[in-house]
Amino acid sequence: MNPLLEIRNIETYYDLIYAIRGASLTVMEGSVTAILGNNGAGKSTILKTLMGLIEDQPDKGSILFEGQSIDGRDTEDIVRRGISYVPEGREVFEELSVRENLLMGAYVRRDRDGIRQDFERVYDYFPILANRTHQWAGTLSGGEQQMLAIGRALMSRPKLLCLDEPSLGLSPLLVKEIFRIITQINTEGVTILLVEQNARMALNIADMGLILENGRFVMKGSSQELLNDPNVKEFYLGMQDESSAKGYQRWKRKRRWR
């Protein structure tokens, strides 16, 4: 397997706020990679930096996609290289219909037949959307909007699909369903970079996991390793079997070694 995406030591500022403090990450072609971390750790910022959505950032470091540098380029060009992004909070076009939202997802493409096929494919993944084709996206439920956002991102036939907290605000049943579909999308050949709060769900479908704290990755490993790690168990999976003050000290100590 080749690396599809390589992020090398990037640093990102929001004006004076130092949000990403040197983070590196490699996503292998065909894999599912999960970024985990608490609120404010900088997970979304990493994806936004990758997509070129933060002006003049990353400040330092480089981002390679298929071996070519994409940092500092316009979002519009990054998308055309084959990266799709489902932002936190869906961001569907509220006063366009479901169908028009999906059409906008295929904006970078010109092949009418392929687009028609992909409509079918998205409606297969999310049959609810097929019943709502002419409804304004803003009138869909939160879960339906999330499905639409994922479907829209697929319409460009991406090589890499980046998802920012797809489970946010969904019922447990729907979360399961969404994760099942993400796995299915992956098996059909799309590499996936997933940002999640729901660590257990994410690690269950991911090959690799990374843990982000205060703008730095503090831990990397296969999902199995992370699932079995006592610190991850305690602080990200919420399984407590010893006094947490002690555990936290140990966690801090461990982090300082890096």
Binding site: E76, V79, Y85, E91, V92, F93, E94, L96
Partner: protein, 291 residues
């Protein structure tokens, strides 16, 4: 009764040019979120370009008018690119000031180049020709204005509904960040909206020019178009059109029955009332965003 219907007809006739200017303002407002006070003067300068081509360069009118419309599109794009885009992270107030500044510059340019006196536009249709429908008079120019306005509405409707560019414009208006994520080049879209808007406005300018042609000619229609757009909620094309015709009719009825002197003030009374009763406009159909 005959008077009344004649006034309605005149109201619709004058409403058509308000509608064109209202549409032009709404198109820009929806993407740039600024009421473009230079709209009238952008149309003014395009109209004077047509005049120049006809009078000084002796172009035939079938070439001069299309060329002036092309000029209008280019002007809109250039102004967006060279002036508005330069404003870094502008506030709405800042943008309004910029458009007012542009307005004064364009007006000054026209006065300096062509002089402030009334010109007579060699328009193929005389403003004094008219057609009788039974007991009613309608000038041919008014009919032409109505036809142009209706065509513009139909074309714009189809454009925003079915074309890729039109849909991308709507997407950019609704959520610029999401539009960029789709690969839409939003800066070009912004430029294109200025071009289209300038085109629509210029068509109004050309249709007004046979009646009145001097540097202040667009001032009153532009404010009325703006008023119509506000009545429609500022973001709705059908709303602006409806507001424009309503305004034209109210104005004429007021002029006919109450006071001819205060005829053009009535528009603003209507707006103030409107903003007191329904501040979001008659056509505000934006539903409230779910939290």
């Amino acid at each position: 009764m005959i008077d009344f219907i004649q006034m309605l007809i005149n109201g619709v006739a004058v409403g058509s040019s308000y509608a064109l200017l209202g549409i032009a303002m709404v198109i820009i407002y929806k993407t740039s979120e600024v009421p473009n006070f230079a709209q009238g003067e952008m149309a003014l300068i395009s109209t004077y370009v047509a005049y120049m081509l006809l009078e000084q360069y002796q172009f035939p009118s079938y070439m001069a008018f299309p060329l002036s419309l092309v000029f209008a599109v280019v002007l809109g794009c250039v102004l967006e690119f060279t002036v508005l885009r330069r404003a870094k992270a502008p506030s709405v107030l800042g943008m309004i000031i910029i458009t007012i500044g542009l307005e004064m510059i364009l007006m000054g340019l026209v006065s300096w180049k062509f002089g402030a006196e009334q010109k007579s536009m060699p328009f193929p249709i005389s403003p004094y020709d008219s057609v009788m429908f039974g007991d009613f008079f309608v000038s041919t120019l008014e009919i032409l204005t109505l036809v142009v306005a209706l065509c513009a509405m139909i074309v714009l409707f189809l454009f925003f509904r079915y074309s890729r560019l039109g849909m991308a414009m709507k997407a950019t208006q609704q959520n610029p960040v999401a539009a960029r994520i789709m690969g839409i080049r939003t800066r070009r879209i912004l430029m294109a909206t200025w071009g289209i808007s300038s085109l629509v406005g210029a068509s109004a300018g050309l249709l007004i020019s046979p009646v009145i042609m001097q540097p202040y000619m667009m001032w009153d229609p532009m404010l009325k178009g703006f008023a119509a757009a506000v009545m429609g909620g500022m973001t709705s094309l059908p709303g602006a059109v409806f507001g424009a015709y309503l305004l034209g009719i109210i104005e004429n009825l007021f002029g006919g029955y109450i006071s001819i002197e205060f005829k053009s003030v009535v528009a603003f009374v209507v707006i103030v009332l409107m903003l007191c009763i329904r501040p979001s406009g008659l056509f505000a159909r934006h539903y409230v965003k779910k939290v």
